[in-house]
Structures are given as C-alpha cells and as structure tokens.
Symmetry: C2
Subunit: 446 residues, 2 copies
C-alpha cells in the first residue's frame, strides 16, 4: 500500500542537517552520499517504523504516536525527520488496522512522501517483521525494493538527526548490525523474588539501547524468520535477535540526547517546547519597499535585534515580484512582522498572507504573522479603528484554518515620519513599538 510518489521530498525541516558530523564520519558520509547521488553501487536503504503501540504508559487514550504536538500528530514529525534524508528510499510504517485510516489521513494532510503502510502485529517484533516482509517480497505491483540496509526506528522518537542515521547505516553495512546507545540515567538493579534488592549493575559498564538501529537486510530478515514465537511475543531488542540467530554482533554507536523516546505525558510537553524553540529562531520584518519608507523597517529590525537576543532578525521587501519573500520562506522562517506604514488598509499583510498560502510553509508548522498598523488617533476617528480591529479578526479566523496565526497591532500615535531613524529617539516611540511587538510575538506562540 504505497502512498505518494517515491523519491519526492516533503516540506523541509528547520534546523541544521548533518549536524555534528566530523572527521572520519564526514568522510564516510561524503563517500556514502556521493555513491548514493551517483547512482552506482549506492547501498539501498529503507526504514521500518513500528507504530502499533497503544501508549499505555502515557495515561491517555490516544496512542502516543498519534498524540498532537502543536496540533500535528507526533508520528508526522518522525516521518518528516526520516523523509528529509534523501538516501532513505522507502519508509514502511506498521500501524494497527483500526488506525490505518488515521495514518493515511496524516500522510496525505502533511504531504509525506516515500511512505508505505503495512498492518502492525500484536507486538513490536511482529510489527517490525511485517514491515520487513513488505520490503522482502519484491512483488510486481509493489514499488518497494528489497534494500541492502534497513533502518529500524521508533515512531515516537521525532528528533532523530541525519548524522546518527548515517552512522548506524554505515556501521550496519560493515558489521551487519548497529544500534544507537546512550549512557544510563539511573542505576539498573535486579530485584529478588521477594521484592528486595538482589544486586545493582555497574552503571559505567552498561548502556541504554536506543533507536535508530540498522541492519543488513538479509541479516535481520533471517533473524526474524528463525526466531521463536516466544521472542516475537516477549522480546523487544532487535540487536539481540541478530546476535542470537545470525551471530552478528552489533556495532554500538553513541547517540545524542535527541534520540529520547516520547514515553510519558511530560515527554509530549518537552517535545512541544523543543519544536516551539526551533521555529522561533528567526523573525522577519516585511514592508512595502518604496525607497522613502525603508528606514522604518531597518529601525524596527535594529530594535528587535536588541531585544530578542537569541532570535535571528531579518527584514525584506514585499515588492520585486516577491523574490525577497520567496527567499525568506525558503529559509524556513515561521515568524513575520508585516508593517503597513502609509496605507490604512491591509495591503501589505494581504500580500504576505497570499505568498504564505502559496508557499505551503504552514503545512508542517504554525506561521505567526503580526500585522502592524500606524494610525494617528488625532486624525482618524475611533470608529474607524474599531473597524480595522474587526477586519483583522475576520482575516485571522480565515487564515487560522491554514495554520497561520495572524495578530493585529494598532499603534495609536502620530504617523511615523519617513526616514525616522533609530538614533533619533532610541527610548521613545520605537521602544514602545518594539516592546509591543515582542509581547505579541511571545504570546501568540500558542
């Protein structure tokens, strides 16, 4: 059951790629990628995601992989993390029959690519086995090919980076099996039958086995075919199956803290905060680029840079057939301040909203737009201001459906002069404006 064309890339992910690759890793990565891109001797790689769990530890009725994080199901973030890695050809997701339609809906709505769905088994191992079978079959009508290397990952580890995927894939090609590990956070103990301490394990000589793991396809498929019903029913560790049934000793790869598994409700909170932080790294100020108004944007930019230390502040123009804006959208900026200086309607904001809707930027993450309006309250009657307020509320309701969070800001002061410079009045009007914008910016982040 393939969904979407193979090989296409979904909307891109903010943040660095290949983060943390250095020295040998970088060389190996370069070799691997050049093979992959040259199309010769490229080791074909697929991924299997068991996603049939019920999430009982979460304490909520929804299985944790389907729990919403910023209104998008957790599993969609994990798919996004895998599909942005161009050398993973196919991603096979095992979901229970009852969640099959939900999963199809997720793939469609968030435009995930290279995804195939198979039915999950009643245990984790059975789900993985089903995923492997789908890759092994090489049926005429199937777009799936038997890969050389298969990555196994959890649906509930959304922050996996390309570097660790690459490391386990390379190590699997060499050793037959590989898995990410982390230091233990707590001491591990063994209880006796009467519920007392029997012994505790040396913490330094043990590790937590995490995901992703990778295998030569033939090794892990053989292991699953050989293994006992008991293993399929009660086992949890794929590395152990490769060891037991194929005598393949997995290479262990130190992973980063990002690999952690969303297990409890608090992990959902943490995931949401991490994602919010990622999409709040950049704010862009936009306005009509008529020459005599450019200073307003630059002043605002300067002010916001001062106030928002950890945020990259850029500015751009809405003219030139929107080329600046296209560039900014390509950079995955999710926060915009749109300044409507001279106009009393929402012309600039409309332009921005149109461009955003065309870009599909808001499919994966909410986009924040603050529409700033300068109105001289001595000249414009109050009723007109109220109308403005109402207009933007209507706009906001409309674009909210497309994941764009619009917020209006009316600045009740005599109109900002053209070429008003930041140095002219560092502590007066500009401060007020910038502080108001900072307020909105932090409050609107859901």
């Amino acid at each position: 059951m393939e969904l979407g064309p193979p090989g296409g890339a979904g909307p891109a992910e903010p943040g660095p790629r290949l983060r943390g690759l250095r020295g040998d890793d970088r060389a190996a990565s370069a070799a691997w990628l050049s093979e992959a891109s040259a199309g010769r001797r490229a080791p074909s790689v697929a991924a299997v995601l068991p996603a049939g769990g019920s999430g009982e530890r979460m304490g909520v009725p929804t299985p944790k992989q389907f729990c919403p994080v910023l209104e998008r199901p957790l599993i969609s973030y994990t798919l996004q993390a895998l599909e942005r890695v161009c050398w993973i050809k196919d991603i096979v997701v095992a979901v229970t029959g009852e969640n099959m339609e939900v999963m199809k809906g997720i793939v469609q709505r968030y435009q995930h690519k290279r995804i195939s769905l198979v039915e999950a088994g009643v245990t984790r191992h059975r789900s993985i086995f089903n995923g492997l079978k789908a890759l092994a079959e090489d049926q005429p009508n199937s777009k799936l090919c038997r890969p050389e290397v298969v990555i196994i990952h959890d649906a509930v580890r959304p922050f996996v980076e390309e570097d660790v995927l690459l490391k386990v894939a390379i190590a699997a090609k060499e050793h037959g099996a590989a898995g990410a590990i982390r230091p233990l956070v707590s001491t591990v103990i063994s209880p006796s039958a009467d519920g007392c301490l029997d012994h505790s394990l040396e913490r330094t000589s043990h590790r937590a086995s995490e995901m992703p793991q990778a295998f030569l396809f033939d090794v892990i498929y053989e292991a699953y075919q050989q293994c006992s019903d008991y293993d399929l029913e009660f086992g949890t560790e794929c590395l152990q199956l490769a060891l037991k049934y194929c005598h393949t000793k997995a290479k262990l790869v130190e992973g980063s803290p990002d690999l952690w598994k969303v297990t409890y409700k608090r992990d959902l909170y943490a995931a949401e905060s991490i994602i919010k932080e990622r999409i709040s790294q950049q704010i862009c100020i936009l306005m009509d680029a008529k020459e005599d108004e450019e200073h307003v944007g630059r002043c605002l930019e300067e002010m916001l840079k001062k106030e928002l230390n950890h945020v990259k502040v850029t500015s751009g123009a809405l003219c030139h057939a929107g080329r600046d804006l296209q560039q900014i959208i390509l950079e995955q900026c999710y926060n915009f301040v749109c300044v409507n200086v001279m106009t009393s309607d929402f012309e600039e904001t409309r332009k921005l909203l149109n461009a955003l809707e065309e870009s599909n930027l808001s499919i994966l993450y909410p986009v924040v737009v603050i529409s700033v309006h300068f109105l001289d309250y001595k000249l414009v009657p109050f009723g007109q201001k109220m109308e403005h307020l109402m207009q933007i509320k209507e706009f906001a309701k409309e674009v909210k459906k497309r994941n764009i969070l619009l917020c209006g800001l009316l600045i009740y002061y005599p109109q900002i002069k053209n070429k008003f410079r930041y140095e002219d009045a560092p502590n007066s009007k500009w401060n007020l404006l910038a502080l108001k914008i900072i307020c909105c910016y932090s409050e609107i982040q859901i």
Copy 2:
C-alpha cells in the same frame, strides 16, 4: 548552619496530598502519622539532598538544580515538596562552597523552613556522607538531631509526592533500607571492549533505581563509614552500599512516573509545563458583591465553565472584609478575573491586589490577574480610555516585581445591564467577553 526555625511550614503546594494511598498503605500511614502527631514513639525522620552536581549533561553553565523554572530555581520546588511533609523534621542540603550563598538566598527568598546547609563533597556519595555526618554529630549548638530514619532524595526530582516518601520511610524502618524503582524505558545492554554488543539484559527482570530512598540512620551511616574510597569516588547507588557493608537488602517500592530526574534541557521544559498545568487548574472571578451586580459574575462564571473544560471556575466577592477572598487564596488559586462593573477606576482590582500581596500567595508561583472594565465608548471619550490603559500598565509594572502578572481588558460596549442574564444572549456580548478573557488567560501564562 541552620536557616529558619525548625518545624515551620513554608507556603503550601497546590495539588493533592497523600495522593494514591490505599488500603494497607493508608493504614500504615495513619499509624505513622498518629505516632508522629502524638509525639510518642514517633520515628524521627530527616532528609538529605545532595545538590553539589555540576549539571554537565544539561549542556548549560548553571548546575541543573539551580536552573530557573518559571523564574524559580528547580531546587526550591524540591525543597517545597519535602517541607510540606510535616513528619520530616530536618532537611539537610549539601551544596558546593561556591554555591553556598546562592543557596542561602534561595532559602530566604522562598521562605523555606527546616533547612540546614552543609558543604558538598566532590562526588555524590561524599556529599551524602557530609549530610549524614551533620545529622550524626548531635552537637550542643546544632538544632539537628540524629534521626531514626533518613530519606535521601535528589535535588532535581521536584515532583516527589508524600505517599512515596512515606512508603520508603515505612519500608526502611522495617527492612533497614528501601528505594523507589521504575520499569526500564529502554533495554539495557552490555558492550564489549571493541564497542560491540556483548549481551542485552532481560528488560522485565531489571528495574531503574530512582529516588527517594530511605534507611535506618544507623545502617546507612555505618555503610558510609565502612565503605572504600573507591566506592565514595565512583559509586552512585546508596542501596548497594547498605547491601555491601551492612548486609541490608533494601525493600524496593514501585514509584510513579513523577519521580523522574531532571537531567536534560528537555526535562526543564517538561517541568515547566507540568507546573504551569498545576497552577492553571482553577480560575476565580471576583467583583464587588453589591446585590444587583451579582449576576454579572455568575454569567461570566457560567460562560468560562463552558469554555474552559478542565479548569475549576469559582466566583467570589471582595466585600465582607475579604473573607471570601481569604478562603479562595487558601485554596491555592493562582488565576483571578476581577470585574470592575460600575466604577471607572480600578477599585476592585486594587482591593484584590492588596489582598494578594498580604497573602504571600505569589512567593512560590506567579499569580495572574485579569482586570476587566466595561466602558461605553459612545459615552466615554477615547482619551479617557487611553488613560485607563496607561494606568493599568503602571500597575502591572509595579506588581510584576512581586510575581503578580496583571493584564487589563477594556470592553468597549454599552454598559452591561444589571441582572443581565446568560440566557438572554448566549451568543452575543457574553461570548465576546468570555472569549477575550480566555485569550488573556492562556496568553499571560508566561
């Protein structure tokens, strides 16, 4: 070095106490507590908190126990969790010399009671040993007494509940040692020298050893006195010391997920979200209780109840010498909507702010106050409204220093009639008002 009088209780904690005690536990707890309160044969209990860690896994320069969560250091939440347990007589905290003044400042600012500070050692075990020595000494000038049972807890596990403290204390009295355990989240493996998998452990027959742990004081003190420098330097598990040096097999107590240790930056995010959720459980609507205005509050209450499903909405009056309000503050409500119906100044809001400041409610958690004002814009000129806006901003700046987050809401509609009823216009003005308040309520939560 004792700080503050022994036996006093700090500001109380929101949320349930003795949550989850049932059957045998409850009986044991009742017996324990009645002994404690009767003062006879009461097993004296103290707690030791090692807090000398450098927090290297957090990736931030501040040791994790001092990282701010809603602007308050993490360790203060842990102290609060321990000091609300009346049968813990003394709490000994081991901090490094360089953080001693910071720690004293925290104890003073958040009014923690029954706290003694000792200097931490260079390892966790040495810090705990220093804490135990302080309890053992029985010096004439020391207010500390050698306890019968000592609880050892981590400074970075702020969500410990009284029930698990009680369970380990009771089990320690019976078995000599006891510790909280949790199921393993990941499989534990043992690597070989060449960085490959040697073997993986059966997940079901192992547990993660968590905190709190408790010991008969004589057992654990003896163990620390006997143990080797190697243990003090490289060991991490107190239960293991009791086993190795005193042949005391610790009783293992199943703990709740709340026991988790704040280890990584994501855990700080999670902690913050959990605390925000806890202090957002209740919202209280307050107004002047003149009889003919009471309906306004009741309508608002009804509306908010409909919109905020998971929040307890109550209402009260500001008259009767503030008795209603005192009761509400005692219930640990941190969110207030203050309705100023007839007055055009901030009389009601001022009353509330005064009462809040007298109550010390905002010492531990931020208190949110939304000051609602009805103004008929057809009658009141715009300039006057602006003045109102400015007044509340000044107020807000002032009370922010005392951890009260004040937000003004001007409703620009013809004045609400007395005895206006919710049923009269369920979809008109009241909806608008309630929705605006919900907006503020969710946005102002920092």
